[in-house]
């Protein structure tokens, strides 16, 4: 999968990484059993500290999204897929309804942002 980080963005780097894993799971791009790159590999490729990646992976493990196994790296759990499935379905539904209403994407996202506040 694709990981991007931006050191000049306000969010901490580990949070930027974790967000991308969560979104990938929610989008259905990462399925149960998928192996993520090892923390060492990812840290070297992105030139960030190993502990930054480990922090992101540990947060995701605490949320139940990842299983961390020594030697085998980080694996997406079956629970992650199940937990995020309703969200994905809700998003698909939201998109189809707002398309039917002819709402501009900006309007839809503004509504979601307001509702989340």
């Amino acid at each position: 999968m694709l990981f991007t980080i931006d050191a000049s963005a306000p969010e901490p780097l580990f949070e930027q990484l974790a967000v991308q894993v969560r979104s990938a799971v929610a989008r259905g791009e990462l399925t149960a059993g998928t192996r993520l790159p090892s923390a060492r590999e990812l840290a070297a490729s992105l030139t960030v500290n190993l502990h930054t990646v480990l922090r992101a992976y540990q947060d995701l493990r605490d949320e139940g999204l990842l299983e961390l196994r020594r030697g085998r790296g980080a694996v997406v759990t079956a629970r992650a897929e199940q937990d995020y499935l309703p969200l994905r379905e809700a998003i698909d539904h939201l998109v189809s309804v707002s398309r039917r209403l002819g709402l501009a994407p900006v309007t839809t996202t503004a509504l979601i942002k307001e509702a989340l506040r």
Partner: protein
């Protein structure tokens, strides 16, 4: 940069194939030396070998006989034909180190294997009055394959790498890109696995089982089956990485590792690969015009046009993202140079 001073790194010109002397030495010179040694050994045994000699074994012992001269000529002919073919591949299409390593490795493997089986099957026949008494040569076969693998691996490893050649042309404007902040870092990591070639293992297992039953030499085929299966398993899953260093493709074992630095990327694109038609099969391959690839399945693949007239392709899912990121990072690296 003007079009009239187009550098050798342009994708339109085809530079000379590098390291032709080494390629010739390894693909032709080494097998010839091995052949000469094998011939010398065989001829020194001429007086103590039975006539005719045993040249083929079946389930009930020797079932093929021949005279030493024609057996020797056949061995030399087949080995030289293979060496000549590998020399031609390396000499004319070896722009990529991968091609030269494959050519050198196969030529060395084949020379040692042929000479090993030849000498190894003659040795036990010394002093026999009748070649029908010759013992089967299963162990010789296994030993020859293992020693040949060592020689082939060594030859492949000894072949020189490509000369570094940075691209000077910009990445084409119409090549796929992705948005990336100037201060952003990105990596794309994806596993590439075999498709239908999985069936290869099943067929191999069945073939080995059949050979065990027919030949009643179960040790030999069990060992061969294990070796082939191990190689298959180790080369069945590869990791493809695009990051600030370029494109890296490596199997479970980490070696052989194929790396294309950002500076040598002319353009990354998504292509559809037909393994048999374009590469003659699956695996680490060289295809037409010296195009190289890690070909694990048919379908979409990430292809990199590289300096030095080289093209490398790897069959991997979501190649669009990989190609877009590779172009984006290469373009950025070239701007800051």
């Amino acid at each position: 940069m003007t079009a009239s001073t187009r550098p050798t790194s342009s994708r339109t010109s085809r530079p000379l194939v590098p390291h032709r002397a080494t390629t010739t030495l390894v693909t032709l010179g080494f097998p010839v030396v091995v052949l000469l040694v094998a011939i010398a050994i065989a001829l020194s045994w001429r007086d103590v070998l039975p006539d005719p000699i045993a040249v083929h074994w079946g389930s009930d012992g020797v079932n093929g006989y021949g005279d030493l001269g024609s057996h020797l000529a056949a061995m030399v002919g087949i080995t030289l034909a293979m060496s000549g073919f590998m020399w031609a591949v390396g000499f004319f299409s070896g722009r990529d180190a991968l091609t030269r390593r494959l050519a050198g490795g196969v030529a060395a493997w084949f020379g040692v294997f042929m000479a090993g089986v030849f000498v190894g099957s003659l040795g036990p026949q010394r002093g026999l009055a009748d070649a029908a008494q010759a013992e089967p040569v299963g162990a010789v076969l296994v030993a020859s394959i293992l020693i040949a693998c060592l020689a082939g691996g060594l030859a492949a490893w000894l072949m020189p790498a490509d000369p570094a050649e940075a691209a000077t042309d910009p990445i084409p404007a119409d090549a796929p890109r992705m948005p990336l902040a100037a201060s952003g870092q990105a990596v794309w990591i994806r596993d590439a696995t075999v498709g239908g070639a999985r069936w290869f293992l099943v067929v191999l297992a069945l073939a080995m089982a059949a050979m065990i039953v027919i030949s009643r030499q179960w040790e030999v085929f069990a060992i061969l089956g294990l070796v082939f299966s191990l190689v298959f398993v180790l080369l069945a899953r590869w990791t493809v990485t695009v990051d600030r260093t370029g494109l890296t493709v490596r199997p479970l074992t980490g070696r052989p590792r194929i790396h294309v630095p950002l500076a040598e990327v002319l353009e990354a694109e998504v292509v559809s690969v037909r393994p048999v038609a374009e590469f003659g099969g699956w695996g680490i391959r060289t295809g037409a015009a010296g195009r190289t690839g890690v070909v694990l399945r048919s379908g979409p693949a990430l292809q990199v046009v590289r300096t030095g007239g080289r093209t490398f392709v790897v069959t991997v899912d979501d190649a669009e993202t990989g190609a877009a990121l590779l172009n984006t990072l290469a373009a950025r690296a070239r701007r800051t140079d």
